[in-house]
């Protein structure tokens, strides 16, 4: 089955907007995606008809809200093929999900019975050079808190991990390997099974940053065989303010808590507190109720399209985009320049013109792309550039929009020549 893009576009109200007097061409979905009407309607319906706090209330609205929220958890669990719904923890975004793991691990230092998670001097945490800052800084800070060493797998000139480094850098000293599934800066899709096999061989925990893959590929946490997966609602056609941490139940059940507060406790006493089982242990305070429910609606929307179809369609788009952009003189793709093991996110530089100027002038033609280091500054450092321009696609992207991009970039070149 192929995606009916015109039908999809009708579901997204913002796509009929104009900017600067011309129709919007939104090519910034890797930054955040747009939202289908059904997500907006779900939010409105929740607030206007069923709004209440969850878990705590015995009244009708409270039950309806709790059921809606927990149904959303079921939807997430099914979407990623989790073995158990209680493995799905709602967070505010991917960043919180990644920090949650990092803090739980340093909390193990002083938490009774959590020895299996303790790390310290001599232990190593490994990431990759293509990570988003949200999968770098939490681990640098964890290293600072515990005295462990922070290391990384380097990337090659084509924007791929240096394969030989996997065995070299991931060693018996490695306790955690945290890496991105699909790079937001390069588009690269990493060899998960290769990395996981090595991490397992040395007994390290694996953390997969699926922020950029959850919206674009079928995700099966059991098949991926990692220990933790993080992703974020706003990039997968859902609301802002909600993300997901998935973790193996036995790990979550043994991990020390992170945020303390309402709902994450079993019983609180001034002289000591015991903690609830996952997922609630990691959901302190009133959760992002409406946002989770909205994410559930986005997941229903994606599932109805079929993630296999989404992936196939986006593969077509990136194949076309790479071909077309290659026709522009002076344009260099930063990242894999062939549509193999890569997603539909294309970053490039244009000789002599700063990415900010490119993006701004494209905007004045109605075309929204991103310019900068895309929160993955080490990638820019690696290639000796200060920034790139990035076009990223989604389920509503058309080949005409890619043509508009190519025309737009050509115009920018003329202007600066």
């Amino acid at each position: 089955m192929t995606l009916d893009v015109e039908a999809v576009r009708k579901d997204f109200p913002i796509l009929s907007r104009e900017v600067h007097g011309v129709p919007l061409v939104y090519l910034d979905s890797a930054n955040t995606s747009q939202k289908p009407q059904v997500v907006l309607d779900t939010l409105t319906d929740f607030y206007a008809m069923h709004n209440a706090n969850v878990a705590r209330a015995v009244h009708t609205l409270g039950s309806e809200a709790t059921n809606a929220f927990e149904d959303a958890r079921d939807k997430v669990a099914a979407f990623i093929n989790a073995a158990n719904r209680d493995e799905v923890v709602f967070t505010k975004n991917s960043s919180e999900a990644l920090n949650l793991i990092a803090y739980s691990i340093s909390n193990a230092t002083t938490f009774p019975g959590a020895d299996q998670f303790r790390i310290g001097p001599g232990d190593e945490i490994v990431v990759t050079e293509m990570e988003h800052h949200s999968n770098i800084v939490p681990w640098q800070l964890l290293a600072q808190r515990t005295g462990a060493t922070f290391r990384w797998l380097p990337i090659d000139d084509d924007g791929r991990l240096v394969d030989s480094s996997i065995d070299e850098i991931i060693t018996e000293r490695t306790k955690i390997v945290a890496f991105v599934h699909q790079s937001n800066a390069l588009g690269t899709i990493n060899p998960v099974s290769r990395i996981v096999a090595r991490a397992k061989a040395v007994g390290a925990l694996t953390v997969l940053d699926a922020s950029q893959s959850a919206p674009h590929l079928p995700l099966d946490v059991q098949a991926l065989d990692v220990d933790f997966v993080a992703f974020t609602g706003h990039k997968m056609y859902g609301p802002t303010g909600v993300g997901v941490l998935w973790g193996r139940y036995d790990l979550l059940a043994a991990m020390p808590p992170f945020l303390g507060g309402g709902e994450m406790i079993e019983t609180v006493d001034m002289t000591g507190t015991t903690f609830a089982a996952p997922p609630h242990r990691f959901e302190a305070g009133t959760p992002m109720i409406a946002e989770a429910v909205g994410l559930g609606a986005a997941i229903d929307y994606l599932s109805a399209l079929g993630m296999e179809n989404v992936a196939a369609r986006e593969h077509e788009l990136v194949t076309y985009a790479l071909e077309q952009l290659a026709t522009i003189d002076g344009l260099t793709i930063i990242g894999p320049d062939v549509p193999v093991d890569r997603g539909a996110t294309v970053a490039f530089t244009l000789a002599g013109i700063h990415p900010h100027d490119i993006a701004q002038l494209l905007d004045e033609q109605g075309i929204a792309v991103r310019a900068g280091h895309h929160c993955a500054r080490p990638v820019c450092v690696r290639y000796g550039i200060s920034a790139t321009t990035r076009a990223s696609f989604g389920i509503y992207t058309t080949t005409e929009e890619i043509d508009a991009l190519v025309r737009g970039v050509t115009k920018v070149k003329e202007m600066f020549s």
Binding site: A55, G62, N84, D86, T274, A277
Partner: protein, 164 residues
């Protein structure tokens, strides 16, 4: 007071609450457990004596809302004197009913087996109250396990009950 037709408070529940069955702790027992529902403070202490694969004797004391106390009473009536396997099957069935979020599809056979426990069907719509209704059943299951029974034919499903 007239309550909506679908009131959670079926007359059966109020009757059991006011006249709890198997109330009191037997002197002679193989295991005693004390279970607390931390979110609302409901408590039950329960003793069992096992003989010939049967729950030969069962008694309890408790404190809490009418749902937790009545459910424990109904449970006691249902399982006292029954083969352990049957008790566990009933426990499973009741757990399933409680996890149905108001969408249970009980067959007539189920209803015959669950007897008075069917009255708790309405509770399943209220996630916050499901734990109340389960308290006595979970205590019974633990007590039987503690008394040495180690049946494995009934699969572990408590985990999925943690949503409430």
């Amino acid at each position: 007071m007239t309550l909506p037709m679908e009131s959670m408070y079926q007359q059966i529940i109020l009757d059991h609450y006011k006249h709890p069955q198997h109330h009191g702790l037997p002197e002679d027992f193989d295991a005693e457990v004390h279970h607390v529902n931390p979110t609302c403070g409901d408590e039950v202490t329960l003793r069992v004596r096992i003989a010939d694969g049967q729950i030969a004797e069962l008694g309890w004391e408790g404190e809490g809302c009418s749902i937790s106390q009545a459910s424990t009473s109904v449970m006691s009536d249902l399982v006292a004197g029954k083969p352990i396997d049957d008790a566990m099957q009933l426990q499973e069935k009741f757990l399933g009913l409680m996890q149905s979020r108001g969408n249970s599809e009980l067959t007539e056979a189920d209803e015959d087996e669950l007897e008075d426990a069917v009255a708790f069907e309405g509770v399943s719509k209220y996630p916050a109250r499901v734990k109340c209704a389960l308290l006595g059943w979970m205590a019974m299951k633990s007590a039987v396990a503690e008394a040495g029974w180690s049946g494995t034919d009934v699969k572990q499903t408590e985990k999925s009950g943690s949503q409430s």
